[in-house]
């Protein structure tokens, strides 16, 4: 599967580089951190080609929700379909190796995901001039761009983004939003994004506040002892 | 006291160490049990 469009794509999206994928469906989901239930009764669907923006105050459980969608932690209750194996997660840390060059970092993630590294990704994320630089010498914003470029390299259709624009300047934010819209969503990919910045996407916003779990929500790791 | 002969020191020190450690273990277990129990009762009375 090349970076751009391939045949055999779903018919609903005429130019779709992803194989047909199911929507991300979340039903009755409860999410915990450190054994304490943070969110409960979550239900939403993200169709291919669509994005969902998560909003909510600090500590409400955005990161835990994204980690649960990514399959890093098991749901306390409910179920998630369509993410997991199809999802690429980007958290606060970029997973960038300081002693490797930009190109080596991306080539590694391409290799892990069994894909060839396409040169277009360097242009898309404004990294062409930095290709042979050691990642350790990058600025915070450049490093973040490299971390985001990894998402494109994995070729996974569902993106789970936790504050992706941190330390990006306005131009980089706009560039990233453009990539997300034109090269990802328009090609049949989808995204769940926790962000405080308006990326200018035509995406519904899900406010997590109504789903905040009370102190005695069922499913806590402490439950057996209460 | 039985006649322990030339090995009196050996036998008594082995018994001393063994019984001493057992007593220490029992004592530590009981004090911790009491402390935790009291702490729990205090918190439960606190109404949380």
């Amino acid at each position: 599967m090349s970076f751009f469009w391939t045949r055999g794509a779903a018919s609903r999206w005429p130019s779709c580089r992803f194989d047909p994928v199911a929507a991300v469906v979340v039903r009755d989901l409860s999410v915990a951190r450190g054994g304490v239930v943070l969110l409960h009764g979550l239900a939403f669907t993200v169709e291919p080609g669509a994005a969902l923006v998560l909003r909510g105050p600090n500590g409400i459980g955005k990161t835990s929700l994204l980690r649960t969608l990514a399959g890093l932690q098991p749901p306390v209750a409910g179920r998630v379909t369509g993410a997991g194996e199809d999802a690429a997660y980007a958290g606060h840390a970029d997973g960038v190796k300081a002693q490797l060059t930009v190109a080596e970092n991306l080539a590694f993630w391409a290799g892990v995901h069994g894909r060839a590294l396409d040169d277009a990704v360097f242009r898309r994320f404004d990294l062409a001039a930095l290709r042979e630089r050691l990642a350790g010498t990058l600025s915070a914003g450049q490093r973040r761009r490299l971390g985001l470029a990894r998402l494109a390299v994995t070729g996974r259709p569902v993106l789970l983004l936790d504050e992706p624009t941190v330390s990006l300047d306005a131009a980089s934010v706009a560039g990233f939003a453009r990539w997300l819209q034109d090269a990802h969503l328009a090609q049949g990919g989808s995204a769940v994004i926790a962000t405080h910045i308006d990326l200018g996407l035509h995406a519904p916003v899900l406010d997590l506040a109504p789903f905040r779990a009370p102190a005695d929500a069922p499913g806590s790791a402490h439950e057996a002892f209460l | 006291m039985p006649e322990l002969g030339q090995y009196a020191g050996v036998v008594l020190s082995a018994w001393g160490v063994g019984l001493g450690l057992i007593v220490a273990l029992v004592w530590a277990s009981i004090t911790r049990a009491r402390r935790v129990k009291a702490e729990l009762e205090r918190i439960e009375r606190g109404g949380s």
Partner: protein, 246 residues
């Protein structure tokens, strides 16, 4: 009525809590009888002199030390398979008891070795195996206290316990292969009890029963303590959460 009902923390406390004191008394009586009998009323052995009296401490503590680890292995498996919290806490409660028993077996063995072999420490299979067991206990207990999150700690310690058990068996064979023993295996070990004259064997069995009763009582008491400590954590977490939500 299933045995798993007792895996409920409250049920465990109400069921086994009342057993602790009686078991302690039974253990005390058995220990006084067995140890007293052994210490005051048994003759000296031909080759050992009065040092033979050390077996009443040495052998039961070694026996409990090994069986405590086996109990921890079983409860760890139960935790990993059935996720019963009490099971994990019982393993945690048993570890320090096993550690102390291992230390007693090692120290009394060394003290005994001094007059018998002419040295405090000999690198012979059993002492070496117990040294390895001692390291296992230390690592296991240290891991429990190093991981703050209870479920994570239970999972990690269970994995270490299971992997460690396999390697403990391997070590046992390796150590046997590695050194020919100085130990008086045939005359002192329990599985060869028929080789010990009845005068020593009967009080030894009573002491053994006393150690086992003491172990059970201590593990029950400590498990209940762990359950209560865990309940404190749970209540605090809930109160903190209630504050955050409000």
């Amino acid at each position: 009525m299933s045995i798993w009902e007792y895996a409920n923390p409250k049920k465990f406390i109400t069921t086994f809590g009342p057993w602790v004191m009686p078991l302690m008394v039974v253990a005390g009586v058995l220990l006084v009888v067995g140890l007293g009998w052994g210490f005051f009323l048994t003759p000296e052995a031909q080759n050992f002199g009065s040092t033979v009296k050390i077996i009443y401490i040495h052998v039961p503590s070694a026996f409990v030390a090994i069986n405590a680890w086996i109990m921890m292995l079983v409860t760890s498996l139960v935790w990993l398979i059935r996720r019963h919290h009490v099971s994990a806490l019982a393993a945690r409660a048993a570890a320090p008891v096993g550690l102390v028993m291992t230390v007693i077996a090692l120290v009394t063995g060394a003290i005994w070795g001094q007059p018998m072999w002419g040295t405090w420490w000999a690198w012979e299979p059993r002492l070496t195996s117990f040294l390895i067991l001692f390291l296992f206990y230390l690592g296991y207990i240290a891991l429990w206290s190093a991981v703050p999150e209870p479920e994570t700690a239970a999972d990690l310690t269970s994995a270490v316990c299971i992997v460690g058990s396999v390697f403990a068996v391997l070590s046992r064979y390796a150590v046997l292969f590695w050194a020919q023993g100085l130990h008086q295996g045939a005359s002192l070990s329990v599985d060869r009890a028929e080789h010990v004259a009845d005068v020593y064997w009967l009080p030894l069995m009573v002491s053994m029963a006393g150690f086992v009763a003491l172990f059970v009582a201590l593990v029950l008491m400590r498990t209940i303590t762990e359950i209560r400590a865990r309940r404190i954590t749970a209540l605090m977490a809930r109160a903190e959460r209630a504050e955050a939500v409000a």
